[in-house]
């Protein structure tokens, strides 16, 4: 049982997709203009993520390795279409509010990322809990950013008035630029407190995309992963070599000094 709880904890806290992995930036910026939209988007993604993890994990032995990415995309796209139609039928207000970002769940890097790194290697039940944890973590992230923006931008939270009357809403926070500012302050805070996050790790790589695969939606460029790993290994080897050389030099100097003293 512990392994399942650990999956949930991992998704919500240790590897929170919004705050730690910094994945799915497009919906994070776009739909968090109010808390309720953030919550709706988060829950929709959770449903898709859990179902896709389940299906992909169940089919992991049937899917040939070479065509796995297209296969994953088809599975995710079918699930997204189903969820989209359900939302359109039963929650039309949310459907209208989220608009184009519902079909775009297909290209949300969290979903393909989890399929690739977890569901295709683990059993069904564990994958379901992984999807649930990641989805809830994403929901938590979106909702808290949404509450923050709504509070500053229109003085409400979940459409309830909760600011004093003197408070003048700073409308820019519910507009497009506000999303960037809120996220900038969040990442700056993470830098300041040295919290674990994809954005405050050093990503000085020679490859053109910057090499920050943690925050990248491209799954085709997996070759770049190899390049980065090789670069890292080479750097490490170089450091070890330099350290060894220094040690040898020191030893030589020491022995010389000893000889002189003698």
């Amino acid at each position: 049982m512990n392994r399942y709880v650990e999956r949930l904890y991992n998704g919500v806290i240790t590897e929170n997709p919004t705050f730690v992995l910094m994945l799915g930036m497009c919906p994070t910026l776009a739909v968090t203009s109010s808390a309720i939209n953030g919550l709706g988007m988060g829950l929709t993604t959770t449903v898709v993520l859990t179902a896709s993890n389940m299906v992909i994990s169940a089919m992991r032995k049937m899917i040939p390795d070479k065509v796995r990415i297209p296969a994953f995309i088809v599975i995710v796209a079918s699930l997204v279409t189903m969820v989209q139609q359900l939302l359109q039928a039963y929650v039309p207000t949310l459907y209208a509010a989220l608009g184009i970002y519902i079909p775009l769940i297909v290209v949300n890097c969290i979903i393909l990322g989890r399929a690739e790194s977890y569901a295709s290697k683990n059993n069904v039940l564990l994958s379901v809990f992984d999807g649930l944890g990641m989805g809830l973590g994403f929901t938590f992230g979106l909702t808290s950013i949404g509450v923050f923006r709504e509070l500053l931008g229109s003085g409400t939270a979940f459409s309830f008035n909760c600011m004093p009357k003197q408070f003048e809403p700073i409308t820019i926070f519910v507009l497009a630029p506000g999303a960037f500012f809120v996220l900038a302050c969040l990442t700056a805070l993470q830098n300041k407190l040295k919290l674990p996050s994809a954005t405050n790790q050093n990503t000085d790589h020679t490859i053109s995309c910057g090499g920050n695969c943690g925050a990248c939606a491209g799954t085709v460029c997996a070759a770049n992963h190899g390049i980065i790993e090789a670069e890292k290994a080479a750097k490490k080897a170089e450091q070890i070599r330099i350290a060894k050389e220094k040690a040898v030099q020191k030893a030589a100097e020491k022995s010389q000094q000893e000889k002189k003293e003698e």
């Binding site: 775009l104 820019i172 507009l175 900038a184 830098n191 954005t199 490859i207 053109s208």
Partner: protein, 191 residues
């Protein structure tokens, strides 16, 4: 003709794809360290997005719509875009070596760029004709290129500036994007 120009300007400037619709944020933040690479990425996006809007719109008009299969559009579009990017890469490699050298690295990054799929779906939702879709796709990609090149220019200048320790790296890039978004809000009065 006039309406086409209006659609193009509105796609490129007023409803800028990155700064007001938040599509394609990942390459926008990731590939904007240098003006050269940003321009290369922009060119690749213009190429792929124009082609993708044309093909998805043709498929929608001639295949999905007549057979009442419009609910399949997300699945069909994402597959077509993924296949298209691979195909373009192969063709460029064989036929136009120089263009491949310039754009090759950026092509795989575009496949899952949400802006490309986003434009295909917006074209369908707004019920644009094939020509209008192509113009809209081109305008949107142009808007992406403008935004990413400006960001790269500002980032290059920021290199030597005295930025507070905690804001170094991603935070300052997001602040710059936010200021650019405010500037682009000004275009709203254009139409």
């Amino acid at each position: 003709m006039q309406s086409l120009i209006l659609i193009m300007i509105s796609a490129a400037l007023v409803n800028n794809v990155v700064l007001s619709q938040f599509l394609g944020i990942c390459p926008f933040l990731g590939v904007s360290k240098k003006i050269n690479t940003a321009a290369g990425m922009g060119a690749a996006v213009i190429f792929v997005m124009t082609l993708a809007s044309f093909i998805t719109s043709v498929l929608y008009k001639l295949l999905l719509s007549p057979f009442d299969l419009t609910y399949l559009n997300t699945i069909v579009f994402i597959l077509v875009i993924a296949a298209l990017v691979q195909f373009v890469e192969m063709v460029l490699k064989k036929m136009v070596e120089s263009l491949y050298q310039a754009l090759g690295v950026y092509l795989p990054l575009i496949t899952t760029n949400c802006a490309v799929l986003g434009i295909a779906i917006i074209n369908v939702q707004k019920e644009y004709s094939i020509l209008t879709s192509v113009v809209n796709g081109f305008g949107t990609a142009l808007g992406f290129t403008i935004a990413i090149v400006i960001l790269a220019g500002i980032r290059e200048r920021c290199e030597d500036n005295d930025i507070p320790e905690s804001f170094k790296g991603t935070p300052i890039v997001l602040i710059i994007s936010g200021l650019m978004a405010i500037a682009f809000c000004g275009f709203a009065g254009l139409i």
